[in-house]
């Protein structure tokens, strides 16, 4: 970690409480729909909370504002996390979360194109969000409309070569309004991410590809808010935040247990999770 350990700000408590509510909504959605990817959704909740409640220049009432910051959930399998975030942030009614993964709804297991306010790009196939985001960042430059682009990638997603094509292109273009956040929860679908492909050293890889790359604690609200808010940070480079996270974060029996990549909690587990999240 680059930043020295500091006492949390009072605001971090506010954000942590918001994140706990988001985590519980996601757990409820997963329980109701018996869908996969709960662990992957829980690991990135703090990044989403910091982004949507403190960092992004967005207006839920005007989701197509040309000057808005773009946030792309490139790890589209964490759809439950972005749906809960957008709903609780006011992009669409929270009741719609009950339609997740149900017939005839807008909330499929991966975010849809051109259907749901706040979804900037349809993802689900990995390695697409960053190239699209780079195109958006270049259009900001071409059109002279200042905005930033944030793309949240999973660590397993770093397997996809298209990310590295985009990384070199963004660096060549000196796109300092682009920020990648890697949700480095150390797991991919069926194994340890560092044993599947040699990701490590991940920060150094992004730095070698021309990015201003930093390791951060992906559950430290103050640090996340500070590092994301700093974009563009004066380095003249795109910014990569390698966010160390815990898969299944927030619920003891889900944390760092990759069975929760596919498992859904039963009713009893939902109650226990609620208690652990301090919402009982």
């Amino acid at each position: 970690m680059e930043a020295a350990a500091m006492a949390d700000s009072p605001d971090a408590d506010v954000l942590r409480a918001q994140a706990a509510r988001l985590r519980y909504r996601v757990i409820e959605m997963c329980h109701a729909s018996k869908s996969a990817h709960l662990g992957s959704s829980l690991s990135c909740i703090d990044v989403l909370t910091a982004a949507y409640w403190r960092v992004l220049n967005i207006d839920p009432a005007n989701p197509q504002d040309p000057g808005r910051d773009r946030f792309i959930l490139s790890k589209g399998h964490a759809a439950m996390a972005i749906y809960a975030t957008l709903a609780m942030r006011g992009f669409f009614p929270e009741e719609e979360l009950l339609t997740y993964n149900k017939d005839d709804g807008r909330l499929a297991e991966h975010p849809p194109a051109n259907m749901l306010p706040g979804i900037e790009a349809a993802t689900g196939s990995l390695g697409h969000g960053l190239p699209i985001g780079v195109g958006m960042a270049l259009s900001s430059r071409i059109k002279g409309i200042d905005h930033r682009v944030f793309a949240l990638l999973s660590d397993g997603e770093n397997n996809e070569g298209s990310n590295w094509e985009a990384a070199m292109f963004a660096a060549a273009q000196k796109l300092e309004n682009v920020c990648v956040i890697v949700d480095y929860n150390k797991w991919q679908a069926t194994g340890r991410s560092n044993e599947t492909l040699a990701l490590a050293p991940l920060r150094e890889k992004w730095a070698a590809f021309g990015w201003d790359a930093h390791e951060v604690d992906g559950h430290d609200m103050d640090q996340l808010v500070r590092m994301m808010s700093d974009v563009p940070n004066g380095s003249g480079k795109p910014v990569a935040l390698i966010a160390h996270t815990v898969k299944g974060k927030g619920v003891s029996f889900m944390e760092d247990d990759n069975n929760w990549h596919y498992r859904a909690p039963n009713a009893e587990e939902v109650v226990q999770a609620r208690r652990e999240l301090g919402l009982a």
Binding site: P66, A113, N114, E120, A121, A122, S125, G127, H128, L130, P131, I132, G133, V134, G135, M136, A137, L138, S139, S140, R141, I142, K143, G161, S162, E165, A166, M168, F169, A172, Q173
Partner: protein, 306 residues
């Protein structure tokens, strides 16, 4: 075709500030005028076609009109998923332009041949697929593309093909075929850069007393159904001609249409490349001759089938 494309795009770039040019590290000097006029809207994306299409889609989602260009296989099959997901699924008006379609780069070997591209692109929802027949059709198609809002795939030959039309095509419409030569017995529907061979075949047939209409069927999706209905009603034989596999291209599309619409599919003769890789060295003319796609071969196959 290639030079006409670069020239027309340069003009469009000056007229329309939404137009952005993305190149996959080809066309050395070809886009110098575009670059000089619009340096902020030209990008050499390198040999990284997946990223190029994703970038184009992101630009299109934000209101720009990017044109992504490189050699056919690399801008189609190499990045097919990006075309499908980033451009087509998002209904983002990305224009994918391919150079060297079919056997235009025959001498470079099967890695550079492209006889399957239209079949892949045609099945993707929202995509428009255009194969202009000469340089004037390239120019007209490019302008028509910028007047509409769907993702488009345009496949071109290379440079120096015969120019068929006498000048600018003022009434060019996507999805509306152009009659090049009138005739009464057989109707040749040609798509893309093989148009000169289809015209030659028409001449040879006429010399044998077979009256041939030759059509530049430049849009493979959406099909010009009025043209097809008329052809299947009024001609003894309808022949599709393409420098593309007989599977899935214009011939495939017309066969599907004929079955679905109740037209007499027995009238249809599909001329295209066979279902195999062409591994021999040699240039386009040799490959066409060997694969039965020269004007002479086309005429002979039609006469034999009559």
């Amino acid at each position: 075709m290639r030079n006409a494309f670069a020239d027309e795009l340069t003009k469009l770039g000056q007229e329309d500030d939404r137009v952005v040019m993305l190149s996959g590290d080809i066309g050395n000097r070809l886009f110098d005028k575009f670059k000089d006029a619009q340096p902020e809207r030209f990008f050499n994306c390198g040999v990284a076609e997946q990223n190029m299409i994703g970038v184009a889609a992101g630009m299109a989602m934000n209101g720009l009109r990017p044109v992504a260009y490189t050699i056919t296989p690399f801008v189609t099959t190499r990045c097919l998923e990006q075309i499908r997901v980033d451009a087509a699924y998002h209904e983002a008006p990305v224009t994918v332009v391919a150079v060297g379609a079919g056997l235009a780069y025959a001498g470079l070997g099967p890695t550079h041949h492209a006889c399957e591209d239209m079949s892949f692109l045609r099945t993707i929802p929202n995509m428009v697929v255009i194969a202009p027949g000469d340089a004037w059709e390239v120019r007209a198609a490019l302008r028509a593309i910028m007047r509409q809002d769907r993702p488009v795939y345009m496949r071109m030959g290379k440079k120096g093909e015969p120019v068929i039309h006498p000048g600018p095509i003022e009434d060019f419409e996507i999805g509306k075929a152009i009659v090049i030569e009138e005739g009464e017995d057989v109707c040749l529907l040609s798509t893309g850069n093989i148009l000169p061979e289809a015209i030659e075949a028409g001449k040879l047939l006429r010399a044998q007393g077979i009256s041939a209409r030759v059509v530049s069927f430049h849009t493979v999706k959406p099909l010009d159904e009025a043209c097809l209905s008329e052809a299947f009603s009024n001609f003894k034989r309808v022949v599709t001609v393409e420098e593309h596999s007989v599977i899935g291209g214009l011939g495939g599309a017309v066969a599907e249409w004929a079955v679905d619409s109740g037209a007499d599919a027995r009238k249809l003769l599909r001329i295209g490349t066979p279902d195999k890789f062409f591994k021999l060295s040699g240039e386009q003319e040799f490959a066409r001759d060997r694969l039965g796609l020269s004007g002479e071969h086309i005429a002979a196959r039609i006469a034999a089938a009559k």
